[in-house]
């Protein structure tokens, strides 16, 4: 049976997302969007028996308060947002039956930063360019193109979820509050614009996540970059600053160097521009980015392309029915 979810309080930028997001329109400037922590998102869908492409909600830093019009099964994964269902503590990483008229209230994220809500049947919003994911900067997809607003109503497809299913402890991402993260990076594509001692400095230094970070980019604060000769002896079309390059495409996850400020380009990032990308964060480390908070400290751990692909397979192997008990 179909139902509605009333948005009592929207939370801080809660949006509809789907996996893997929007593909095929990148060359026109539309980024993939989709859930930032795809590991937690996929497990939420599996818990409630949804297809992988079913749309759910991404809650950031402070979650929403939602009222369900009808009986359904829901699951909440990712960051700990101290959710309650009609005042009772609501368990994470577990499918739960919700009765008509009940209210799920989330608080601030106390461990991690982003939580994912799946509802059996999946959220029903129109597909835009083949996806339901929200790209709010251009007002594309999701619920009317933007983050949820107080007083809106979200339609949900009919679905038959089973309550009481849990994600095995060792199949969940290890979201912790240590404030220190080891983030994998692959060297390139434009690492030859950085001097060898600059590469070493990047890998040996601590980088602080700045507050001005969001689903477009993660700004980092750290030591000065040291450029290779190539960065200053180049044609005028590459621009004046050593970090400038002739306009080129930006891989998702690339660490974009704007002057001296590195910005990790994430799900909603611009597709192209005129700055170099000396390193790239592989997809398997995105859940760590998604679950970290401003002022957290990153150290980067260099891996090969093949190692990064193996890590990705490792996570894919956990986003399966076998991870449920």
């Amino acid at each position: 049976m179909a139902l509605n979810i009333d948005v009592i309080k929207a939370g801080l930028e809660t949006s509809v997302q789907d996996f893997p997001g929007r593909y095929g329109f990148w060359e026109q400037g539309f980024p993939p969007s989709g859930p930032f922590d795809m590991w937690s998102f996929r497990l939420a869908n599996i818990l409630v028996g949804n297809a992988p492409e079913a749309a759910g909600l991404e809650c950031q830093f402070m979650g929403p308060t939602l009222k369900f019009s009808d009986d359904c099964v829901i699951a909440f994964t990712g960051a700990e947002m101290n959710a309650t269902l009609d005042g009772e503590t609501f368990p994470m990483w577990e499918s739960v039956a919700v009765a008509a008229g009940q209210t799920l209230a989330c608080g601030f994220a106390s461990v991690g930063a982003r939580a994912y809500l799946a509802v059996s049947g999946g959220i029903e919003v129109p597909q835009v360019l083949g996806a339901r994911a929200t790209f709010h900067m251009a007002g594309v997809g999701g619920l009317e193109g933007h983050a949820l607003k107080d007083g809106q109503s979200i339609a949900v497809n009919g679905g038959a979820g089973v309550p009481g299913r849990k994600v095995k402890q060792d199949c969940r991402p290890k979201i912790a509050n240590g404030k220190q993260w080891q983030i994998e990076v692959v060297q390139g594509p434009n690492d030859d614009w950085i001097a060898e001692e600059g590469i070493e400095r990047f890998l040996e230094s601590e980088w602080k996540l700045q507050a001005r970070s969001n689903r477009t980019g993660y700004r980092l604060e750290g030591p000065e970059w040291i450029f290779a000769d190539k960065a200053s002896s180049k044609g005028p079309e590459h621009g004046e600053h050593p970090s400038n390059i002739l306009d080129h495409g930006y891989p998702v996850g690339s660490i974009n160097l704007c002057g001296q400020t590195p910005i990790i380009l994430v799900n909603d990032a611009p597709s192209a521009g005129g700055f170099i990308n000396p390193f790239t964060v592989p997809s398997a480390a995105f859940w760590k980015l998604a679950q970290s908070k401003p002022n957290d400290i990153y150290r980067f751990n260099r891996v090969s392309v093949e190692e990064a692909q193996e890590m990705r397979r490792g996570i894919d192997g956990l986003c399966v029915e076998d991870s449920i008990e």
Binding site: F30, V186, G188, L246, G249, V305, Q309
Partner: protein
């Protein structure tokens, strides 16, 4: 230069940046889009999408279906089999965009900038002076006197970098400093040697020389041209601007508002680089429209 050996640079676990050269050069950009078309035709299993730009292509792929090494060698073999640049042809539709030059919309935007941010000379005056033109009429004549090549899209959804194909019509313009906090959707901008149509109300830095009522991006998908795509242009397409007066501008705007405006496009148009080079050889570069 165009490299003898293209570079295949890793971008994490699922992207490759293929660099074909390192300069701003029409032939190189044409090569980028011709190769992109070839790669798409080949339908390589595991290749997800392409992001062609000035001199490079970012390729996204599924590493469970194809390895970096196999994808590289497959793309390289298509590249080697492309034959000579001179023989290349590309299907390149031409989109016709009406422009009201020195219009009321961008004048209001400029006045607002002068009042709120800093005094600056009127944009079209800057272009006229810098490019040694007679006045606004010649600016419109030159800007609309050439086809433009969609070299790339990016920065913002639907925003295309347009390069004049007729070298006699290449203008230069400085950028706003500081940039504008807003620019009206449909503004015709000029910055460096690139012109553009603003796809939405966004900040911006290009000089504003005119305005079109015809959208190049439509999130609401209200016009027939946007039933499949939200953005009108793809890399390797062409644009031709044509000047209109206020009456025609208002008429087109009313059709857009009514939701029944049909974009004017020549889908059959091919681009032959040999014919283009031959034509370039006949031009007298001192001539101006």
């Amino acid at each position: 230069m165009i490299y003898d050996e293209p570079k295949f640079l890793p971008g994490g676990d699922r992207f490759i940046e293929m660099e074909l050269g390192d300069e701003l050069n029409f032939d190189l950009n044409f090569l980028v889009h011709s190769l992109s078309a070839k790669i798409r035709e080949a339908e390589i299993a595991g290749l997800i999408e392409l992001l062609p730009n000035m001199a490079s292509i970012v390729i996204s792929y599924d590493p469970d279906l194809i390895s970096f090494a196999d994808l590289k060698s497959e793309i390289l073999s298509h590249y080697r089999n492309m034959g000579s640049l001179e023989d290349m042809e590309l299907l390149s539709p031409i989109y016709y965009i009406p422009v009201l030059y020195c219009d009321h919309v961008t004048r209001a935007c400029w006045e607002d900038y002068c009042a709120k941010i800093t005094e600056k000379e009127y944009d079209s005056d800057i272009l006229v002076k810098l490019n040694d033109l007679d006045g606004y009429a010649q600016l419109a004549r030159i800007h609309s006197g050439t086809e433009y090549w969609v070299a790339a899209l990016g920065f913002y959804p639907g925003l295309a970098s347009l390069i004049a194909l007729d070298p006699r019509c290449r203008l230069t313009a400085p950028k706003y400093n500081p940039p504008r906090t807003w620019t009206a959707k449909g503004t015709i901008g000029y910055g460096g040697s690139v012109t553009c149509v603003y796809p939405a109300n966004t900040p911006g830095g290009y000089q504003m020389i005119g305005h079109t009522p015809v959208p190049v991006c439509d999130i609401e998908q209200s016009l027939p041209a946007f039933k499949q795509d939200l953005a009108l242009l793809r890399p390797g397409d062409r644009v031709r601007f044509f000047p209109v007066g206020r009456e025609e501008y208002d008429y087109i705007e009313s059709r857009v508002t009514a939701g029944d405006y049909v974009h004017n496009v020549a889908h059959y148009a091919k681009f032959s680089i040999r014919a283009y080079h031959e034509w370039l050889g006949t031009l007298d570069m001192k001539e101006r429209f």
